[in-house]
Symmetry: C2
Subunit: 335 residues, 2 copies
Amino acid sequence: MANKKCGNYTICFENPPVITGWASVVGKKEGQGPLKDTFDRIFTDSTLGERTWEKAESRLQKESMQLAISKSGISPQNISYVFGGDLLNQCIGSTFSLRHSDIPFFGLYGACSTMAEGLILASMTVDGGFSDCSAAITSSHFCAAEKQYRVPLEYGGQRTPNSQWTVTASGAIILQNAGTGPKITHATVGRIEDLGITDVNNMGAAMAPAAFSTLKAFFDDTATKPGDYDLIVTGDLGLLGRKIVVDFFKKDGIDIGQNYDDCGIMIFSGEQDVNAGGSGCGCSAAVLCGYILNSISQGLMKKVIFSGTGALLSPVSVCQGESVPGICHLVCVTA
Amino acid sequence: MANKKCGNYTICFENPPVITGWASVVGKKEGQGPLKDTFDRIFTDSTLGERTWEKAESRLQKESMQLAISKSGISPQNISYVFGGDLLNQCIGSTFSLRHSDIPFFGLYGACSTMAEGLILASMTVDGGFSDCSAAITSSHFCAAEKQYRVPLEYGGQRTPNSQWTVTASGAIILQNAGTGPKITHATVGRIEDLGITDVNNMGAAMAPAAFSTLKAFFDDTATKPGDYDLIVTGDLGLLGRKIVVDFFKKDGIDIGQNYDDCGIMIFSGEQDVNAGGSGCGCSAAVLCGYILNSISQGLMKKVIFSGTGALLSPVSVCQGESVPGICHLVCVTA
C-alpha cells in the first residue's frame, strides 16, 4: 500500500490542505430554516432573475464561487483546478457556471456526495504537489430537480412520508497548501453499496449502508471512535437514513447517536413540511460551507467528520426495476 | 506553482505511472472497422444478452474491466481507486457495472473526455503516493445514446452530414507505480471553451477550440512540437473538428496535420456510413486501449499524445438555446 494510506480505505494527508475560503448561498426556504444565519447569501427569488431553473442553479454556483474566492483572497488565475458536479443531466449546473472561468476543470458525478468527492480529489492535488490551490463546488435546485427526477412543479405531485426535499443551494471551497483556516487531515473514499432497496422515495435507506461502510472504515483505519469528534455528519440521509446508520452501529456495539447528525435534518426545521428532510448536492455543501466551517473557524468545534452520501440511480434505472446503489465519501476537517 | 507542474497547465509526473493492463471491447460495427484486430473482444450481439441498452452498456464495462485486470495480473482488491463515468444520465453505465466490485469509486462526468480525465486523476493518485494501483474506465453504447440524446432507434430519425456515430465500446486501464508497460509522463488539464456553436449535430466544431487550447498549452508548457511525437490523437472530433484544429494550428504557423489523427475518424472506414466519424466515451477509450497501447507495447510507437474531447451540453441546455461548451484533457503516453 502507498505511504499516505492508513488502513485499507483512508488517506492521511502529509501536509493537510487548508480551507482558506468557503461560501454558501441558498434559496428562500433554506433561508427560513434553523441554519439561516450561517449562510452567506439567501435568494428570496428562486429564479435568481434567470429564465430557467437550470440557469438559476448555474447562477447559484457562480455566486458561491465568487464569494469563496473573494473570502480566500486568492485570484482566480491562481486556482489550478476546480472539481465540480451536480444533479442535472450531464452536470450542466457546473459546466455552464464555469464555462467562462478559464480554470482547469474536472467534472464529477457523485450525486449528493459530490462536495465530499470534490474535496478528496482537490486535497489530493494539493497534498500530492500538483497544485498550490484547488477548488470544489456543487449545487442543487429544488425546481430543477423536481422537473428532472419527479414531475414538473405545475403537476402538483404528492410526496411520500419518506421522501426528501431537494435543497436549493450551492457551496464552494478554496483549498491551499498554506494559509489559515480549517484543515482536511483525512479522507475515506467510498465503495458502492447496494442492499437492494428499490423504493426511490426512500433514498435515506438506500444510502445508509454506504454511509455505515465508509464511517466504519474510517474509524477502523484511524483507530478512533465517534466520541473523538465534536460532530459527525452525513449528507443527506434524512430522518430514516440516520436512524438506520445509528442502528447499524448499535449492532456493532457502538453508540454513534450522541454527536451524529445529518445535513438533511439540520437544514430544515420540523415545521417546514419536508418529510424526511433535505437532500441534493447543495444540501451538505451549504451546511459544510455555512454552519460547520463557520463553527470550526470560530473555535466552537475542533474535529468534524463530513461524509457525503450519494444515491447513484437514474430515473431510467428505476423504471428498469433496478435497486439504488449508494456511495459515501468522507473527509475529516480539523481546526 | 507546485513542483510537479511544468508551465501553466501541464503536470510532469515524477514517477510516471505504468499502464500494466488495458483492454477494449466493442460492438459489431466497430468490429468491422479498420481497427478490428486491435480490440480484445467484439460482441456481434449489441444487447450482450441483456434486457436493456443501459444494461448492455454496463456489461461492456464489466467485460473490459475484467480483461484489463486479468491482463495486468493484479487482483481486484489491490486496486485502490477506480475512476469511471459515461454518457448515460447519472452515469449509470459505470455505477451499475461497478456496484458489486467493492473497489473505492470516484464518479466522473467528462463526456467523451472521460477516459483522459480518469487517467489524469488516476495518475495523480499513483504519482502522489495515495495509491499503488488505480484504474480508469468508460463506455458508450450507440443504442443507449440515441435513445437518450436523440430519438429512439425505432423512429428511424435521419442524420445530418456533420453528425457523429456513438461508438459501442468500453475501455479499461490499470495504472501502477511499478511494473512493465507504457507510462503516463505528462498530463494537461483542460479548461472549458465555448465559442458559441449551437448546432448539436456539429459537436466536432464545438469541441475543436478546447482541443486546440489544450494541445497548444501542452506544446507551450513542455517546449515540444507536434513532430516530436509519433502520433497525436484527439477523441472524438470527427472529420470536421479535426480540420478546424489543423486550421487553428496553421494560423499559429504550426503544421500539426502530418501525425495528427482523431479516434472518431480512425475507428470507422469511410464506407461505414457514419458521416463525420465516431464519438462517445467508448470511442477514444477503445482506440487507446486497442490500437494505441498495443502499438506502443509492440515497439511500433514511442510517444503518443492522447487528448480526450468532451462536449459538455445536455438535451435541456440545447432546448434552452445554449451553445455547446467543450473541454479537452490530455495525457502523454510513452514506451
